[in-house]
Symmetry: C2
Subunit: 400 residues, 2 copies
């Protein structure tokens, strides 16, 4: 029997218990062993809860119980969650989590600790909620040299951008609407400024490229400067605007960033709408594969944690190899990244634009007093130099 | 060291050798052991081929070599491939394949044989080419009770339907074009009549629902009766037509079928175009996840086979549990399946249609002498009874 302790009985923690109890029979069958929730750690009591008798308040009860093989960390944050994860792994207890902040901050160290103690630190739920992406990167794509990862990794911002496009509503109005619907936090900064997507692309890049990508090294822009006027131009381009986390290798140089991008209809990510997430992974022999689903939500996230629990139960005493080495992936400066740019400038004439940027594609202005265009491919550095002669209203990078 | 033998040095077989050699270093690292191609079985010689010295003509050389741990069956068909697979598994050699015909016909037996001999029969490449779908069904979705699998599983037919829609060209013209481009076989029957998709949905359903779905029991229709007139109506419905393989559980009843379906824009499969494939899997707690990529092609297919090779190398002497039991999944008759139907009838008036079918949605006719409509939800049996009073030009089932 595999005994499980769930740390934190909030949304994800209670979801984990619910998924295990709902699908208990098939989970046992898949794991090849009975999977049993023995403890739930929380500071609160839960009178009337069907599992109230499993609740303990002292983490040492769990850590000192040799029967507990698997710990689900569903506390969030990088404080107690970090301490408890280290203790569990040190004692050879595998840890499964959805805590992207912790994985992005301490993943390298915790994976090494798991390896040293012949157990596992698994985090399928940390990126893309219920979408299987971490395990495919670890296993299905194991023959591949990953060359690019591009994802819509944050449901809140994707919801906001979708509504701005579909309803022509401006950012602030849609954000308020998203908050009312529970799709955005009261303090939405982590989502709208791209910090959440940044942690996720750091985790995915570390696994994809096999060396540590630290989230603080990933250039990050949010969506707060995107306006309905930007969207008005997208119709002319048969395109939309999405917040992407992306990393890629180009001629041996690695780039990682989070920013809004112009995506044309041909892009498989173009149609990922509302709160859905999707991740496009390019392998050197496989080409493109895409993984799509709900990027958040109690049960999808919990299901992903439980898939890790089953993996741990099936591999008791075996450390599952993970292509994420402590060595840092050398990231190149954004200055050297090459792409097209969608640009709106105030009060200029087309000739000056063409003289500066070369073979631009001019768009039909949607407002008086501005011109909009798409540049040819150039580096960020060259773009910035050229753009410095103009009064730029808006610039959005073009993907592909 | 894990010694590999490749049976058949055609497109997939040579792709397998190419993927292993191209990514040799990272493959060894991921497998935790050196993966080495020792033999290539083919009736032909390959003078000048970089691996010509590995070619053998006698399968017994491979079967009798105790060093060979893993056999990649890339011969196709259900004759010699079946015999060689049985021999290899009986000797405890794991077998990896892209051979959907063999898996669909003998998968149950071969999986039991692998289990009995503590080795593995893996077939990631049999469905969706390079798209990771078999392994996610086996592992990532292990906490889930799968309730539906719906897929665009055949690239040839998807290419034909995409071109018919985009170019308004008729079936025969597009088929010829597809044959010229190498997207369709000289004898296209297996694709256009749905037989290929049928084998794939049988395999996916067996894994998803945990019991054997035999492909001959799956109701199958191809795309040969789809016309450009049908597509003309799709604009009014903001929909398109796709050949779907699907299986689902509804109130304890299981249904499986292959047929063209009307898909509206909200469906994640709507935008899967040209030769791309995608599979939408619904779990009881996870909800929808979708897997997208190239459904065929030498290197994507080979990469999927090699992902299985790595799994076998990592799990030498361990049979990986597979949720596909010999017991047959009881399939319900299509008669009891409920859905809407898109129907075109000759020379009728709307009143008779409404009297027969109830609250239909009438469409603007695109041709003289016909009326087109979408029925309310009803069973296939009820639809057929009502339709027998009309001269039906075309009927396409509506998904969702």
């Amino acid at each position: 029997m595999a005994k499980v302790a769930v740390l934190g009985y909030g949304t994800v923690g209670s979801g984990i218990v619910e998924v295990i109890k709902t699908n208990q029979e098939s989970i046992n069958k898949r794991a090849g062993i009975e999977v049993d929730v023995k403890y739930i750690l929380d500071l609160r009591d839960f009178p009337g809860d069907p599992y109230e008798e499993l609740v303990v308040h002292d983490v040492d009860v769990i850590m000192n119980d040799p029967e507990v093989d698997i710990v689900c960390e569903a506390m969030g944050g990088t404080g107690a969650a970090y301490a408890f994860t280290k203790t569990a792994l040190s004692k050879g207890k595998s840890v499964c989590t959805s805590n992207k902040a912790l994985v992005a901050e301490y993943g390298t160290e915790l994976l090494e600790l798991a390896k040293a103690n012949n157990c596992n630190y698994l985090f399928e739920a940390s990126c893309g909620g219920g979408i299987p992406i971490i395990r495919p990167l670890r296993t299905s794509l194991s023959p591949e040299k990953v060359v690019a990862i591009k994802g819509i990794l944050n449901g809140t911002t994707n919801y906001i951008l979708t509504k701005m496009e579909q309803e022509g509503a401006d950012f602030d109005a849609v954000l308020k609407d998203a908050q009312a619907l529970g799709y955005a936090e009261a303090n939405p900064e982590a989502d709208i400024e791209g910090h959440d997507a940044c942690r996720k692309i750091a985790i995915l890049s570390s696994l994809g490229f096999g060396k540590t990508v630290y989230y603080k090294d990933v250039y990050t822009e949010g969506i707060t400067r995107i306006s309905i006027d930007d969207f008005a131009y997208m119709k002319q381009l048969k395109a939309t605007i999405k917040l992407l986390g992306m990393s890629k290798e180009v001629d041996g140089k690695y780039f990682a960033m989070v920013a809004p991008f112009v995506l044309t209809r041909e892009n498989p990510l173009y149609n990922v709408e509302d709160v859905m997430n999707a991740i496009l992974v390019t392998g050197n022999t496989l080409g493109d594969t895409m993984y799509y689903g709900a990027g958040a939500g109690k049960l999808p996230t919990a299901s992903a944690v439980v898939s890790d629990v089953i993996d741990c139960a099936m591999h008791a005493g075996i450390h599952l190899a993970c292509n994420w080495e402590p060595e840092k992936l050398p990231l190149s400066s954004l200055d050297d990244a090459e792409r097209k740019f969608f640009v709106r400038v105030a009060g200029e004439d087309a000739e000056k634009i063409k003289a500066a940027f070369g073979e631009v594609k001019m768009l039909e202005p949607v407002k008086d007093g501005e011109l909009a265009f798409v540049t040819p491919v150039m580096t960020e550095k060259v773009y910035r130099e050229k753009a410095s002669d103009f009064q730029v209203i808006s610039m959005i990078r073009v993907e592909g």
